[in-house]
Structure formats: structure tokens, C-alpha cells
């Protein structure tokens, strides 16, 4: 029982002490617990980190190898395309060179020759200059000819004047108008008068013959061209003297009815063949035979028929031969 009482007396103390020691240890317990937790978490963390680090390292290696692989693939593709492109560019450039040369050659040879054009234009300008010169010369020549003709006309006029006024020439006794004694030399007109031959009476008659070529119809159809006389010949006149034909014959021929000639009757340009023929004979076609027309101009008045032509020709040739014989 003593222990019990002792224990009982001590129990409070023991309780206190128990409590005290437990509570004191509690603080340390938490602290130690926390510390242990910390140490353990830290260690676990390190473990995990090492693990992850390892994983990272491995993943990096895998990725690195993968990337290098795919990069190399891309690179090869790029290189392939680049080389293709380079080759194509080269081919294109070479083809362009060939085409350029060919096109230039073709244009220059077949379509448009620049040098030929230049030559042509030069030739044209040279021809132009030559033509201009030639035409200038031609114009000058014409002018000279005109001037010459004018001078000649003037000269002829003066000559005619001199011939008309030949009586103004000075004689030994009397000096003429143009040879005044107060002058040193005689007037040039005086010299002209000396050279001139005086006009004769017949010249004036010859001059009045009218010229046949008509420059203007109205000018020439003045009263001169028509036979005009003041006094008409009497109606019943004697047979005129001379080798004239019988008047009835003449009137017969004059009023012979119209017989159209071959020229009028036959149409010339009807057939194409005839046209061709005509063209071929173009160069051989004669101008009207002038001798015949001159013969007829004086003898024939209006007759048209071919028989008459032939008759007259025969007659005239006979006359001609007779005359010739007579003269011989």
C-alpha cells in the first residue's frame, strides 16, 4: 500500500510530468516530423528531377535525331529542286540564245532586211537627186531655147524693119538719119541698113497666103476662109477656058449618094480575137500615107467610094507618068 500511496501522491506529479514530457516532446515531435517530411520530400524531389532529367536527355536525343533526319530529307528535296531549276534555267538561257539568233536571222533574211532598206532609201535619194538635176537641166535648156527663139524672132523683125526702111540709108552726098555728122560712129541701125537687101514687090503678095493649121475654130472661121466675092459670076456663063472637066460630070461626082466605107461598115471591136489581132498589129499599123493625102487635098472635094479612089489614083498616076515622059 505504500507504493500505492506513493504512487498516488506522485501520480499527479507523474501525470504532470507525463503530460509535460509528452507536450514538450510534441513540439519537438512536430518539428522533427516536419523536418523528416522536408528531408523526405526533398529527396523524393531530387529523385524525380533526376528521373525527369534523364527523360529530357533521352527525349532530346530522340528529337535531335529525328529532326536531323527530316531536315536532311528537306534539304535533299531543296537541293534537288534547286539543281533542277538551275538546269532548267541553263537550258532556257541556251534555248533563248538559239532562238534569238534564229529569229534575228529569219527576220533579216526572209522578212525585213534593214540594210537593204537603208540601201534602197539611199538609192531612192540618189535617183531623186539625179532626176532633180536632169529636170533642172531640162528646164534650163528649154529656157535657153525659148530665149534663143525670142532673140531670133527679134532679129528677124529688126531685119524686116531694116529691109522695109532701106531708103533711110545714107548716101555719099547726104548722110542718113542714123549717120549724123556730129556722131563719132554711125548708129548700129545704119550698119544694119547697109546689110539689108531691099524688099521687092512680090514679097507682099506671097505673105498673104493663109496658113492651114487652125489654132482656134472661131478665129479661123472668119470671112477669109470662105470664098467670098463682091460680084457673083453670072448664072449662064460660057465654058471656062482651060482643061476643066465637064460641069455635069463634076456635079455628078459632087452629089454622089453616100456609100459607107469598110471602116464604118465593119465593127472593129466585136470579137475578142479581133481585139487580140488588133493589139498584135498595133506596131505595124501605119500612119496615113502623107503623099496620097497631099495629092487628094487639091483634087478631091467630097467623094467617098472606094472605086472612085482607085479610079482617081489610076488617073493621077497616069497623068504623072505622062508628065514625066513629056519632060524626058
Amino acid at each position: 500500500m505504500a507504493t500505492l500511496v506513493r504512487l498516488q501522491a506522485r501520480s499527479k506529479f507523474v501525470a504532470q510530468q507525463y503530460y509535460f514530457r509528452n507536450s514538450v516532446v510534441d513540439i519537438f515531435r512536430k518539428k522533427e516530423y516536419d523536418a523528416a517530411v522536408k528531408i523526405q520530400s526533398w529527396f523524393r524531389g531530387c529523385q524525380v528531377r533526376a528521373y525527369i532529367r534523364n527523360l529530357h536527355r533521352v527525349a532530346t536525343i530522340i528529337q535531335k535525331w529525328w529532326r536531323s533526319y527530316s531536315g536532311r530529307q528537306e534539304y535533299q528535296l531543296i537541293v534537288k529542286f534547286a539543281s533542277c531549276a538551275m538546269k532548267m534555267n541553263l537550258y532556257n538561257a541556251m534555248a533563248v540564245r538559239i532562238q534569238r539568233r534564229w529569229r534575228g536571222y529569219r527576220i533579216r533574211k526572209y522578212c525585213f532586211n534593214y540594210f537593204y532598206l537603208k540601201e534602197y532609201l539611199k538609192a531612192v535619194s540618189e535617183t531623186n537627186d539625179a532626176i532633180r538635176e536632169a529636170l533642172e537641166e531640162f528646164a534650163e535648156m528649154k529656157e535657153r531655147e525659148e530665149k534663143k527663139a525670142d532673140l531670133e524672132r527679134e532679129e528677124k523683125k529688126r531685119d524686116y524693119q531694116a529691109r522695109k526702111t532701106h531708103y533711110l540709108l545714107s548716101t555719099k552726098q547726104i548722110p542718113g538719119i542714123y549717120n549724123s555728122p556730129f556722131r563719132k560712129d554711125p548708129d548700129p541701125w545704119e550698119l544694119r541698113l547697109q546689110k539689108a537687101k531691099p524688099l521687092t514687090y512680090q514679097r507682099s503678095k506671097v505673105k498673104q497666103k493663109r496658113c492651114i493649121s487652125l489654132s482656134s475654130w472661131l478665129a479661123c472661121t472668119s470671112a477669109r476662109s470662105f470664098p467670098r466675092s463682091e460680084i457673083l459670076p453670072p448664072i449662064d456663063r460660057k465654058q471656062c477656058q482651060g482643061p476643066f472637066r465637064d460641069i455635069t460630070e463634076v456635079l455628078e461626082q459632087r452629089y454622089k449618094p453616100l456609100e459607107p466605107t469598110l471602116w464604118v461598115a465593119e465593127p472593129i471591136s466585136e470579137l475578142k480575137v479581133a481585139r487580140e489581132e488588133f493589139r498584135r498589129q498595133e506596131w505595124m499599123r501605119d500612119v496615113n500615107d502623107n503623099m496620097i493625102s497631099k495629092l487628094y487635098y487639091h483634087h478631091l472635094i467630097s467623094s467617098q467610094s472606094t472605086e472612085n479612089y482607085i479610079q482617081k489614083l489610076d488617073k493621077l498616076s497616069k497623068d504623072f507618068i505622062e508628065e514625066g515622059e513629056k519632060q524626058a
Binding site: 531612192v124 535619194s125 531640162f138 476662109s225 453670072p234 459607107p260 464604118v264 472593129i268 493625102s293
Partner: protein
């Protein structure tokens, strides 16, 4: 005794008739007497005298009638209405050469006034007798007949066809070969009148072998003959290419070029008409003319004439240049452009100016070199002033506008284009600005010149609708310059600068 007295009465009557008819014929030469004669009823008095017994009276009566009919067409109609023509035609066949000449003169005088009168002559069968007269030996008769036929054929194609159907053409060709100059002239003029209407008639004339003889006669010194011959050849050549080629084959070049230097103005005109008609058809014919040196000769001829004589030459240059650019370049190197611009500025008449404008347009429209050649001679401002002036005729305005447009579309010669920026109307301004927008991006010197001459400023002042072609051109010009320059020259820039000056607060320390 009494027989002689009776005969004397007849003689007096004959003398009176002769005197009357001769006086009337003389009076009819002066125009102021003709009215009086007409009122006195001369027609009805002359008509029976045509049937007179005495040939002299007939001839003089016919001559008097011819002179009266020649004067105006009322009298000619009176001749037709008085049934005088059948009598004339009948006696044409029979009488002597003086009567034939007088009767042919009457027919010509009646036929020249109008187609109806000429048709009346054809209807009474005069053509056959006139053609028979063409075969006569007297050259005066031939000339009168050919003249009458020429005047009848002049009016229209049917009458020409009638003359050809009567068989006149071969005889006219024979007449051309005769030695008398007057006859040659008239025959050539008749052939020219016949062939001018249609290609078939021209072909008939060619088939009769006229071209060779006409070509030979170009060398003849007589200028009136040359006029007619050249006119005949040009009427033949104008219808078709074949006819023109046949004319050229007769070796008229280069002889025709000497005619361009003739003293007579109308010979020059007809020669340049002939060359024009030939050049108009195909490029080959134009080439032939250029190779023969024809262009230079025509240009000299243009320089030596004035007025209407120049017109065919100017047109010929236009036709040649129109065919191809090589031919246009040939015209340019023959110094055609200065001559044409002289014509354009000198000539008072609008139609000649129009022709010169058209020719310049044809020359300048091919390539930039051609346009430059035209622009260098300073013709573009003249053309512009003609286009803008209110006094020019419509034809002139249209032609100068077309010429300006076609030259501007190819012109890259900027000094000539610049004046256009200032006074051109909007439709032309568009082309000018377009040309600038084509040239400026490539040429730095031109850009500098453009700025210094004030062109950029002018371009900024142009108002254009956004989205229009003009605006695009202006934009492309503006893109050639740095932005500050463009802003500097844009209108109102000085105002904006001043505003900035107003609103600027100076820094105060």
C-alpha cells in the same frame, strides 16, 4: 434684054442674101449683138438659107447658126426645136468641106450645153455622119467632127457609149497620128472625154491602141497638146489597176517627169494628176514611181506652183505614203514633209489645206521615226490650230483631227509634244499624256527635261475623272517621280505650305 433684066433681079436677090448672111455671121461673133439678133428672129430667117442653092450662102448660114448656138443654151434649144438638125445631118454627108466644117461646128455648139441637147443630136442620127466626117481627108473637117464628138461624149456615160458604138474611137486614134497639131489636140481631148466615164469605155479606147500614140505625144513641144494628152492618159489610168499598168507599160516614166517642169501650169497639173491616178492603185505601182524618182519631181513641182495646181501633187504624196511605211520613208527622205507643211500654212483655200493635212497624216502614222520626221518640222501646232479654228470647213477640221491623232499615237519626240499639253482640247490631250506616260519611265534625261520645262506642273493641273484612261496615264507619270516632287508641283501646294506656316508653333526655350 428682058432676059438680062430678069436675071439681074435674081442676081440682086442672091447678092442681098449673101450680104445678109455674112453680116449676121460677123455680128454673131460679138456677144452683145446676139440678144438683139435673137429678138429680131434670126433663127427663122437663117433656117431657109440653109437650104439655099448657092453653097456659099449655105455655108455662111451654117456658120452663123453655129455661132449663135454657141452663145447660150436657149438658142441651142431653138436650133433643136426648129428641126434644123436633120437637114444639117443630111447635108453633112453630101456637101463640100467648108459646109461640113460649118455643120460640124453647129453640132458642136448645140451639143456642148447640156446632156439633153446632146441626146437630141444623137437621136437625129448625127453620130454616123460625124464619124464619116472623121474619115475625110481635110484636117479641118476632121477636127470639127472630132470636136463635136468630144463635146457630145463629155456629158455622161450613155452619150459616150453612143459615140463609141458609132465607131468613132479607131478613127480618133488615127486622127491623133495626123501631123496637124490642132487635130491632134482635139482628138486627144475627145478620147479623154470618152474614157473618163467608165472602165469599159476606157478599155475600148485602150483596145484601139491609143495608149502607144498618146505616150509618144508626151514628147511633143506644144503645151496645149500635152495638156490634152496627159488628161487623156490620166482618165484612162484612173479606173482600174490593169489600165494603170497598161499606161505605165507604155514607158511614160521618166518622160512624164519632164512635163512636171513645163512652163504651162495646166500641163504640170495634168501630169501630176496622171501620176496620182497611177500611184493610187497599188503599192507596186507607187514603188515604180518612187524608183523612177517621181516623188522628187512631184515635190519640186509642188514647190513651184500655187493654188489648185498643187492639189493633185499633194494627193499623190498622200497616196504613196499611205501604201506602206517604206514608201512613206521614201517620201520623207525626198524632203516631202517640209514642202507639205509649207503648203499647209501658205495656202488660203481650205480644200488644199485639207489635202495637205491628210497627206501629212498618212506619212506620219506608221512608226515613231515617221512621226518624228513630221513633228520635227513644227507642223503639229499648225494642224492643231486648223482643227481648233472656227473658220475652217468641216472637212478640214475632220482631216486635221485624224492626222493629229494618228501622228500623236506614234510620236515619241517629246519637244514637239510639250506645246500640246498647254493648248490641246481634252480628247487630244488624252493621247498626248498617254505618249508621255509611255516614254518617261524609260528615259531619265527626258524626265528631267519634263520637270524643268514645266510639263509636270501642267500634268498635275489636268483634271481627270478617277478610273478614266487619262487618270491612269497621269498616275503612271507620277510614279516616275519621287513623291515630294509630285507634291511640290501639285496645285495648291503653296497654300498648304502657308497653312503649315500659320499653324506652326515655334519652339520657345
Amino acid at each position: 434684054m428682058s432676059q438680062r433684066q430678069v436675071l439681074q433681079v435674081f442676081e440682086q436677090y442672091q447678092k442681098a442674101r449673101t450680104q445678109f448672111v455674112q453680116m449676121v455671121a460677123e455680128l454673131a461673133t460679138r456677144p452683145q449683138n446676139i440678144e438683139t439678133l435673137q429678138n429680131a428672129g434670126v433663127m427663122s430667117l437663117l433656117r431657109p438659107l440653109l437650104l439655099d442653092v448657092v453653097p456659099t450662102i449655105q455655108q455662111t448660114a451654117a456658120l452663123a447658126l453655129g455661132r449663135l448656138a454657141n452663145y447660150n443654151d436657149d438658142l441651142a434649144e431653138a436650133v433643136v426645136k426648129g428641126d434644123i438638125l436633120p437637114q444639117l445631118v443630111y447635108s453633112l454627108a453630101e456637101q463640100n468641106r467648108f459646109y461640113k466644117k460649118a455643120a460640124a461646128f453647129v453640132l458642136r455648139a448645140v451639143g456642148k450645153h447640156s446632156p439633153q441637147l446632146a441626146q437630141a443630136i444623137v437621136d437625129c442620127g448625127a453620130l454616123d455622119t460625124l464619124v464619116i466626117c472623121l474619115e475625110d481627108f481635110d484636117p479641118g473637117v476632121k477636127e470639127a467632127a472630132a470636136w463635136a464628138l468630144g463635146y457630145i461624149a463629155r456629158h455622161n456615160a450613155e452619150l459616150s457609149q453612143a459615140v463609141v458604138d458609132a465607131g468613132a474611137v479607131p478613127l480618133l486614134v488615127l486622127c491623133i497620128q495626123e501631123p496637124e497639131i490642132a487635130l491632134k489636140r482635139i482628138a486627144a481631148s475627145a478620147l479623154s472625154d470618152i474614157s473618163k466615164h467608165s472602165p469599159e469605155l476606157a478599155q475600148t479606147v485602150v483596145d484601139a491602141g491609143a495608149i502607144a500614140h498618146l505616150a509618144q505625144m508626151i514628147l511633143n513641144p506644144d503645151s496645149k497638146l500635152k495638156r490634152q494628152v496627159l488628161s487623156a492618159l490620166s482618165q484612162i489610168a484612173k479606173h482600174s489597176v490593169d489600165l494603170a499598168e497598161m499606161v505605165v507599160e507604155a514607158e511614160i516614166f521618166p518622160v512624164v517627169l519632164t512635163c512636171l517642169k513645163d512652163k504651162d501650169e495646166y500641163v504640170k497639173k495634168n501630169a501630176s494628176t496622171l501620176i496620182r491616178e497611177i500611184a493610187k492603185h497599188t503599192p507596186e505601182l507607187s514603188q515604180l514611181i518612187v524608183n523612177a524618182g517621181g516623188v522628187a519631181a512631184v515635190i519640186d513641182c509642188i514647190g513651184s506652183c500655187k493654188g489648185n495646181i498643187r492639189l493633185p501633187g499633194i494627193m499623190m504624196l498622200g497616196y504613196v505614203a499611205a501604201h506602206s511605211e517604206n514608201l512613206a520613208m521614201a517620201v520623207i527622205i525626198s524632203k516631202g514633209v517640209p514642202q507639205l507643211s509649207v503648203c499647209l500654212s501658205e495656202e488660203p483655200e481650205d480644200h488644199i489645206k485639207a489635202a495637205a493635212a491628210w497627206a501629212l497624216g498618212q506619212i506620219g502614222r506608221h512608226t515613231p521615226e515617221h512621226a518624228r520626221a513630221v513633228a520635227v518640222t513644227n507642223t503639229l501646232p499648225v494642224l492643231l490650230s486648223l482643227y481648233m479654228s472656227t473658220e475652217s470647213s468641216e472637212d478640214l477640221q475632220v482631216k486635221s483631227k485624224k492626222a493629229i491623232k494618228s501622228i500623236l499615237q506614234k510620236c515619241t519626240y517629246l519637244p514637239a509634244l510639250e506645246p500640246f499639253l498647254y493648248d490641246a482640247p481634252p480628247n487630244i490631250l488624252k493621247h498626248v499624256v498617254g505618249q508621255f506616260s509611255k516614254v518617261l519611265p524609260h528615259d531619265s534625261k527626258a524626265r528631267r527635261l519634263f520637270v524643268t520645262s514645266g510639263g509636270l506642273k501642267k500634268v498635275q493641273e489636268i483634271k481627270a475623272e478617277p478610273g478614266s484612261l487619262l487618270q491612269e496615264y497621269i498616275n503612271s507619270i507620277n510614279n516616275c517621280y519621287p513623291e515630294e516632287i509630285v507634291r511640290y508641283y501639285s496645285p495648291g501646294y503653296s497654300d498648304t505650305l502657308l497653312q503649315r506656316v500659320d499653324s506652326y508653333q515655334p519652339l520657345t526655350h
